[in-house]
């Protein structure tokens, strides 16, 4: 029967793959997750993150590979015997059951004695702070409350693994921030593994211990949030992590990771993030690290196209001489058509090969 929470140490994905016809939706997902870890699967839509989650849950059969919980092979078991908790994107609450019955469903299916089940349901209701809503039907709840029910229903069975499929995407911005903290708190209290699928890098950065970036069904980078934020391994990961500026440049000198590059005649210092051959490189930098200062020295000249007010500062878009669109931060509102010099922070300017 379902593996119990008390005994396991880790979840191991070994070359898990899934094909749809000739399309490889997921290729060779290999990953070991320790008990207590919160892992985010991050990527744009169609990158295979939901496929990965469904394969782990057993809702999709794998084409190749194996899934182990310690030494027990799970991918050959049907969903109902894996014993994982899952939170669906649309919550998938049973509309004809009260909140209490929804949460208690997993315990009922496991044949837990009624008295014990009732106690555990009450505890779960308390954990997600739904005390006064327990007798209601899901249709009578707000989106945030439904979300809590979905989480309570998944965790009440104390699964070794909780799977979450973009659980916050249907909530408004304020609620999303609140629920992030809730999810983190519940995860810490449960001590199991959480695998969280999202396309929102902020969510992944704030929630996860480890982030797995997927693209075209393949792992592009695995690392801590700090790693991914500061040192994306590839240009596509960088783009996804908010490096909106991709500036074509020529390599001048390189020693170790420190590189000097030429952008439209301006010499800039940066950090190389991968080995590349040839002189053509792409410099990637976040808009926040590209600043329209008052001096024109050492900056990339560009013509301002639009500005927007952000409160603390201004966010602008401009076009360089070679036509590259640049996004930057500014202390004041520049007028469109004005030429500005955009200064890049050398520690935040990452350089990748242009050949991809």
């Amino acid at each position: 029967m379902a593996p119990s929470l008390s005994s396991f140490k880790m979840l191991r994905l070994d070359g898990v793959s899934r094909d749809f016809g000739t399309v490889n939706a997921l290729r060779d997902l290999t990953l070991t997750i320790e008990r207590g870890e919160f892992v985010a699967l991050l990527g744009p839509s169609g990158c295979g993150k939901s496929t990965a989650l469904n394969c782990i849950a057993g809702l999709l059969p794998t084409s190749r590979g194996a899934i182990f919980l310690d030494d027990q092979r799970l991918d050959i078991l049907p969903t109902e015997e894996r014993g994982f908790g899952m939170v669906f994107q649309n919550y998938a609450l049973f509309p004809h059951m009260t909140v209490r019955d929804n949460i208690g469903f997993g315990l009922k299916m496991r044949g837990i004695p009624k008295a014990e089940a009732a106690a555990r349901v009450e505890k779960a209701i308390e954990t997600v702070r739904l005390g006064t809503q327990a007798h209601k039907l899901p249709g009578q709840l707000s989106g945030g409350q439904q979300q809590r029910v979905a989480i309570a229903r998944a965790i009440v069975v104390e699964p070794p693994l909780v799977l979450m499929d973009e659980p916050l995407s249907n909530l408004d911005a304020k609620l999303r921030l609140e629920m992030r903290q809730e999810i983190r708190r519940i995860h810490a209290g449960l001590g199991s593994i959480t695998i969280y699928v999202t396309h929102d890098q902020d969510e992944a950065l704030s929630l996860a211990d480890r982030i797995v970036v997927l693209r075209d069904g393949m792992i592009r980078q695995v690392g801590t949030p700090e790693d991914l934020y500061a040192r994306p391994a590839h240009l596509d990961v960088a783009e996804f992590m908010g490096f909106r500026n991709r500036i074509p440049a020529k390599l001048k000198t390189r020693s170790g990771d420190a590189v000097a590059i030429d952008v439209s005649g301006v010499l800039l210092q940066g950090i190389a993030r991968e080995d590349f051959t040839g002189d053509d490189v792409i410099a990637a930098i976040r808009p926040d690290d590209l600043f329209a200062g008052d001096t024109h020295e050492g900056g990339i000249p560009a013509i301002v196209e639009a500005m927007e007010y952000r409160g603390r500062d201004f966010f602008g878009s401009a076009r360089a001489k070679d036509g590259t669109e640049l996004f930057f931060r500014a202390a004041r509102r520049h007028t469109p058509g004005e030429t500005v010099a955009l200064i890049a922070d050398p520690a935040r300017l990452l350089v990748y090969g242009a050949a991809q």
Binding site: T79, E80, F88, P95, L137, L141, G143, A154, V157
Partner: protein
């Protein structure tokens, strides 16, 4: 510059529009006219007619109907056909619909299943008389393999009518059931599976409770169809005996005895019986959850 009057009330047109009455509402009129002309008027006329029997009393037809077993037995006879047929159709339709729901190529199968509707009851009855009659291939094959020694009577009795009603009624029941089953969010079943529910439990606790309101409606519609059976009861049944259904009684009153008043009364009784069954089923349906069958989103 003209000043704008903020204090006058909106015009009649705007007020009517706020209540859902505007020029688009006029599009309902043709259908209304049709409904009144072809249903409401004949119904009320029939009702009036039924209270004007040949003997001049108000309730003469109804007294006559309920004092003559040859007449009032038709209610039971019809129910004995219609209820089992409807239940049987539902019992067949649910598992088939469950299977078809998962199929990628639903259209072909749906077409095949729906074909009997387009054929009409008379053609199906003709076919059955040929295939299932004493000399039909059904009996000959069974005799060939020694399953039976003499032909089994499958037509011109209760079973013939029943079988034909199942054949012609099934597609309708199936299509309705399929649409109700397809309306249930597949994520609900997946959620139940992740919570440890095996296929049987998923059906029992998730699908069935969500399906019951739809099945009740399907039952009502299928039942009403089966209850008004006429052609197959005449062609495939024993219209003087075990399959003397209520519509036959009405037909005989109207076109053999030329007593339109009596025929109207029988038609009214028929309608009341149908309404009673439908009302009972809908009442039972009220005991169950009737909201949307999706993963409710607030």
């Amino acid at each position: 510059m003209s000043s704008i009057d903020y204090h006058s009330n909106p015009g009649l047109k705007a007020r009517l529009a706020a209540r859902g009455l505007d020029s688009v509402t006029l599009l309902v009129l043709p259908a209304m006219a049709l409904l009144v002309g072809l249903f409401v008027y004949p119904f009320l006329y029939g009702l009036w007619l039924s209270f004007n029997p040949k003997d001049g009393s108000l309730l003469g037809n109804y007294f006559k109907f309920f004092s003559d077993p040859f007449l009032y037995d038709t209610i039971g006879t019809t129910l004995k056909l219609a209820v089992p047929v409807t239940i049987l159709n539902l019992v067949f339709a649910v598992p088939v619909a469950f299977r078809v729901r998962l199929m990628k190529n639903q259209r072909l199968l749906t077409t095949i299943l729906v074909l009997p509707i387009t054929l009409g009851t008379v053609l199906v009855a003709e076919g059955m008389l040929n295939y299932l009659g004493p000399q039909g291939w059904a009996n000959r094959i069974m005799m060939l393999f020694g399953i039976i020694s003499s032909p089994v009577k499958l037509t011109n009795n209760y079973w013939g009518v029943m079988l034909s009603l199942v054949i012609t009624g099934f597609p309708f029941t199936f299509l309705l059931t399929l649409s109700y089953i397809s309306g249930i969010d597949p994520a609900l079943e997946q959620a139940a599976a992740t919570l440890g529910a095996k296929a049987r439990a998923r059906f029992r606790y998730i699908f069935l409770p969500l399906l019951i309101p739809g099945l009740a409606i399907t039952f009502c519609l299928s039942f009403v169809q089966a209850y008004s059976v006429f052609p197959s009861a005449v062609l495939l049944g024993a219209p003087a005996g075990p399959t003397r259904v209520i519509s036959i009684a009405a037909y005989q009153a109207a076109f053999e005895e030329y007593d339109y008043s009596m025929a109207s009364a029988i038609a009214m009784i028929m309608g009341v019986v149908q309404l009673a069954v439908v009302a009972a089923v809908l009442q039972i349906r009220n005991l169950f959850y009737r909201g949307p069958a999706g993963g409710a989103k607030g």
